[in-house]
Point group: C2
Chain length 250, copies 2
DNA sequence: CGTATACTTGAATTGAGTCAATAAGTGTGG
DNA sequence: CCACACTTATTGACTCAATTCAAGTATACG
């Protein structure tokens, strides 16, 4: 169940009453990967005082593009899909977020995209104005958020190059390479990954159709670049070849 | 000529020795449109102390994608083209910057894109580390930069939707609408604009070829949506129709 | 175990790209 | 001010990568 509808005060009390008396942030699994990294115990108390921990079922929205942008979030578990839609239903997925990622940066009244859970999701939710107030109390926190924004901006530029100028095969190769890279940071196996998203999500992320994504997977399997033990599992036979394909060296 | 090669000290002395003794920032034409908006006289002195004013010839680079990201800039006059390239030369233009725009946000060692002048360009250049030091002295400045980054992020999301899911006609209509909108902010005529960029730049921005851009312009002229008195001038006959086209209502 | 959903494959179509030939600007020097 | 060269833009004919439409096949889940 979500904590979404639980009064905030009750929530904070519950959070503070952990069995060992520690601030739950101290034990947070993504502590060192997120915007909270490097905060000291005292600062974490500040953060903890304004956070609401919540869970969201798979395929439910965290927020919609047109929602008033009152909160920002930190993903602690699960995967989020960010997307925008045209009036006639055409969809562009603008990104996927994983544990440790920051969600909801927007210097405007509404969010820039819709955010939906594509697996059971755990989040830390912060009221925007309270987080901004924290910027004055925790030196470096704002700089960290600026860093996050800057990294997102770089990723967005890369995605524009992909969408505007890459072929279907290059697009899929680039996508898979970025998943490998993200997996590396989390210390997982580097020659195989699980795809938390389905073919439609991948297609909408790469500006393709599901059929083209499927055909491109098939072609890569035939070429011996990768294997698909199941639809959501990819084993890389030739990671370097994949990297070459992603940069157009074919 | 550029001030790029003039020693910084000399530069600052020259800047301070204005005829009326005022900080040149006070008279800056883009003062209220830029990240400097709302700074008081004292704060502008701080800014002025670290700025180098420079000019760049048309078609020359401000910096390249692979350059060490040591400076940030404020465009005071002219137009900048931002782009990324694939090894084989395919290019994606990721944006155009106009007077008042901020350039070079990057939380990494190198820039995320190449920035080139597409008209004679005037810039204010700030050493990154000095600007970051200013964040501590000028309250709200960092927040302002975060705001700029956030707006760029939103624009990048919109561009992803355009590149991934819009037709050629929708792409061009969207582009023209955004130029009208930008023109409005500067208080110009709203039913006609000058295009500072050529057809290749537009094509590379929209993920098209020059031929398709040209054909799409021709079609819009035939449909009575706009007129092209010259290749770099667009007169809008039916701005509302253009808006409709941009959102796929056809 | 059946049924809905997701994925793959095939055939035909098409929107935009490519290649090629003008046409229209733009600038330069005589 | 014009003739020339050069660049940029337009137009036409043809091609092709990806989409669309249409079956099938696998997979997940109550």
């Amino acid at each position: 169940m979500s904590t979404q509808n639980v009064p905030a005060l009750f929530n904070r009390m519950a959070i503070r009453a952990t069995s060992n008396g520690l601030n739950p942030c101290e034990a947070c699994p993504i502590r060192d990967m997120s915007v909270c990294a490097g905060l000291n115990s005292h600062e974490l108390d500040h953060v903890n005082a304004i956070v609401t921990r919540m869970t969201i079922d798979s395929e439910r929205a965290v927020f919609y593009e047109w929602d008033s942008a009152e909160h920002v979030f930190n993903v602690t578990n699960g995967t989020v899909r960010l997307s925008k839609m045209l009036p006639d239903g055409r969809r562009q997925v603008t990104g996927f977020l994983y544990p440790g990622d920051f969600l909801g940066i927007a210097y405007s009244d509404t969010y820039a995209y819709t955010a939906e859970a594509i697996s059971p999701l755990s989040l830390c939710r912060f009221p925007r104005h309270k987080l901004e107030a924290l910027f004055d109390e925790i030196p470096g926190l704002e700089k960290r958020v600026l860093g996050v924004a800057s990294n997102e901006l770089r990723a967005a530029q890369d995605q524009m190059l992909l969408l505007g100028r890459k072929t279907a095969q290059e697009k899929l190769a680039t996508f898979l390479c970025s998943l490998i890279k993200a997996g590396k940071q989390n210390g997982g196996r580097q020659d195989a990954i699980d795809l938390p998203m389905n073919r439609t999500d991948i297609a909408d992320y790469l500006g393709l159709t599901t059929e083209t994504v499927s055909r491109t997977f098939t072609r890569m399997v035939k070429d011996g670049v990768l294997e698909l033990p199941s639809t959501h599992r990819v084993v890389f036979q030739q990671p370097k070849r994949l990297q070459q394909i992603s940069e157009g060296e074919t």
